[in-house]
């Protein structure tokens, strides 16, 4: 199964990027764990000709020479899914875009590099209403939104939305990836 872009995550970032890219003439797949809450962009994405997998999970991807070459989902087992570009928009801890364990914090789909404090006693602020340090943990990206794995930039894997480290913001993150995928400055 071949697409121009595979987007992992059906939340605001994933559906937003999918809709923009599909409307720009690219053939997109959005894989959404659960229904995804964004009803109207989701419908518009499908009406624009995009392919949406609901209630499915991307189990992992294959990486070769600094590029993602394919992903596999739970439901479409036995069918390789390939694309030119891939977007990680899996959200943060609640949606399991980031997993925290006693050993650290990791990104489960590709094992992307994650920025976080190695000392877990610094993850939270005891003042419940204060900004929480863990809110800034997430996947490290370059200025085009590309992720890295083991310090090496993956040229066709982008990240957007809540999974990002720091305070990049939803709209900025979406625009950055859309521009990079379309080759716009």
């Amino acid at each position: 199964m071949r697409f121009d872009v595979v987007i992992i995550g059906g939340g605001p970032a994933g559906t937003g990027i999918g809709l923009e890219l599909q409307r720009s003439g690219l053939d997109c797949l959005v894989v959404s764990e659960g229904l995804g809450l964004e009803e109207s962009p989701r419908r518009e994405f499908v009406e624009a000709g995009g392919t949406l997998l609901q209630g499915d999970t991307v189990l992992g991807g294959t990486i070769s020479e600094g590029k993602v070459t394919g992903v596999a989902t739970r439901n479409l087992k036995g069918t390789p899914i390939e694309a030119s570009c891939y977007v990680l928009a899996t959200g943060r801890f609640f949606s399991k875009g980031l997993i925290s364990t006693m050993d650290g914090i990791f990104e489960p789909v590709f094992g992307c590099d994650v920025l976080y404090d190695r000392d877990s006693t610094n993850w939270t602020n005891p003042d419940f209403y204060a900004p929480q340090p863990f809110e800034d943990f997430g996947v490290v990206t370059d200025d085009q939104g590309r992720v890295s794995i083991g310090g090496r930039t993956i040229s066709n894997l982008f990240a957007a939305g809540e999974v990002l480290a720091g305070k990049i913001g939803m709209q900025t993150g979406i625009e950055r990836v859309v521009n990079a995928v379309l080759g716009r400055k």
Binding site: G34, L35, V46, Q54, G55, N75, L76, G78, T79, S95
Partner: protein, 413 residues
């Protein structure tokens, strides 16, 4: 996500977000139904303390699994509800439910008398009597029976033609193909043969049991499931995948046998496939080539059946249909047609069934296609009864569009 939890049906992963209730077709039509969250994980907490908390309104669950597709936490809400019904439901079941649920028995009795049965089931006085005495709603168009079972046709007219092949698939024909619509089975055999594969039947095939499960006949369902799994295991160990045309049969054997009946199918699950998935994967990997007629034109609306949605496989049927040149395809957003197998046949449910389906009927009529395509036979009955549209399985559309001669030549090995 389901793999990361240990509890049965991921029961305690429910966060009470209620997104399941927002997609439940029954809740929208019937205020007496507590909804998937209440009937499922919420109610389960009480039932675990005391079975007396079992609630008869759980019978309103259509087992469509839309709640499970919507759940972001992987809670198997539909499974929780159906398991509770099988475990605690001790209400007296009318004979009607058994007749509706035991499709092998009903089909075998009806087939030899098909012309008489079909006329009787279509005539008003009989329907009025069935409505009054049996509780099958008289407004419903009942499925007609074929005079000749699919398996009989296969043994008499097709089995000998399978001898020349070296690669095979096993066909799970299901009750619909066997008793109601053997044409679909014939289309399947023709396509598979043209692809260079022979077709075998399973050593012993019984109804998948979906209707027995939803009507609470757990023991009978388990008995049939065990026979099927034994036959499937035999086919798979001979290197043959088990392929069917009905999304519900395939879904039931892949997931419900394990989740609801407690039958371990892990060794064969990946080999139980829907025809459109098997075919798509073969074409994609280059091992099968399909050649289509150049003058075929059809406007098709694809309806994703609820169990097809749960399998996550509508993408296969859609991409397969898109391979046909001259076919215009429209895919509206997934909605439930309301029939839910035997549910919509029951007098007390007819109103809910039609109300649930209304939005889908309106959507399809507005598209006004030449044909509605769907992988589910009960959706077909419901849509054909409730609209003026004709419904076909994607496999039958493919059989219409294929150039069999050229396809066959392309797949000789």
């Amino acid at each position: 996500m389901q793999d990361k939890n240990v509890s049965v049906n991921n029961f305690e992963q429910c966060l009470k977000c209620d997104i399941c209730s927002s997609v439940c077709p029954m809740l929208a039509a019937n205020p007496r139904y507590p909804g998937p969250k209440q009937a499922g994980p919420d109610g389960e907490r009480y039932r675990l303390k005391d079975p007396a908390y079992y609630d008869l309104t759980l019978k309103f669950c259509l087992n469509c699994k839309r709640c499970e597709v919507a759940c972001p936490s992987g809670v198997r809400i539909g499974d929780i509800i159906q398991t509770a019904r099988l475990k605690y439901g001790r209400q007296n079941r009318p004979l009607r439910d058994f007749v509706l649920a035991d499709t092998d028995l009903t089909g075998s009795l009806a087939t030899p008398l098909a012309p008489v049965v079909n006329r009787a089931l279509g005539c008003r006085p009989v329907k009025a009597v069935m409505d009054r005495l049996v509780g099958v709603d008289s407004r419903r168009t009942l499925p007609s029976y074929s005079g000749r079972k699919f398996v009989r046709w296969f043994r008499e007219s097709a089995a000998h033609r399978q001898l020349g092949f070296r690669r095979f698939v096993s066909f799970f024909h299901g009750c619909y193909v066997n008793y109601n619509f053997p044409e679909l089975g014939r289309d399947f055999v023709r396509i598979i043969n043209a692809c260079g594969f022979g077709v075998h039947l399973l050593e012993d095939e019984r109804c998948c049991g979906v209707a027995l499960i939803s009507n609470g006949f757990g023991a009978q369902a388990r008995h049939q499931a065990e026979i099927n799994v034994r036959s499937i295991r035999k086919a798979v160990s001979a290197g043959e995948p088990v392929v069917g045309c009905s999304s519900t049969c395939i879904f039931t054997m892949r997931d419900e046998y394990d989740h609801l009946l407690g039958i371990d199918t892990s060794d064969v699950r990946d080999s139980i496939l829907l025809a459109s998935k098997w075919l798509y994967d073969k074409v994609e990997s280059g091992s099968v080539k399909l050649v289509f007629k150049s003058d075929y034109h059809l406007k098709v609306a694809y309806h994703t059946a609820c169990h097809m949605n749960k399998l996550g496989w509508s993408v296969y049927s859609i991409l397969l249909l898109k391979m046909i040149p001259g076919l215009e395809l429209i895919v509206p957003e997934q909605q439930c047609c309301g029939i839910a197998g035997t549910f919509g046949f029951k007098k007390e449910n007819y109103g809910y069934s039609q109300e649930i389906g209304k939005s889908l009927f309106d959507t399809l009529e507005a598209i006004s296609p030449d044909i509605v395509a769907t992988d589910c036979e009960t959706c077909k009955w419901q849509i054909e009864m409730s609209t003026d549209l004709k419904v076909m399985n994607p496999i039958s559309i493919l059989a219409e569009a294929l150039d069999f001669e050229k396809t066959q030549k392309s797949n000789i090995r």
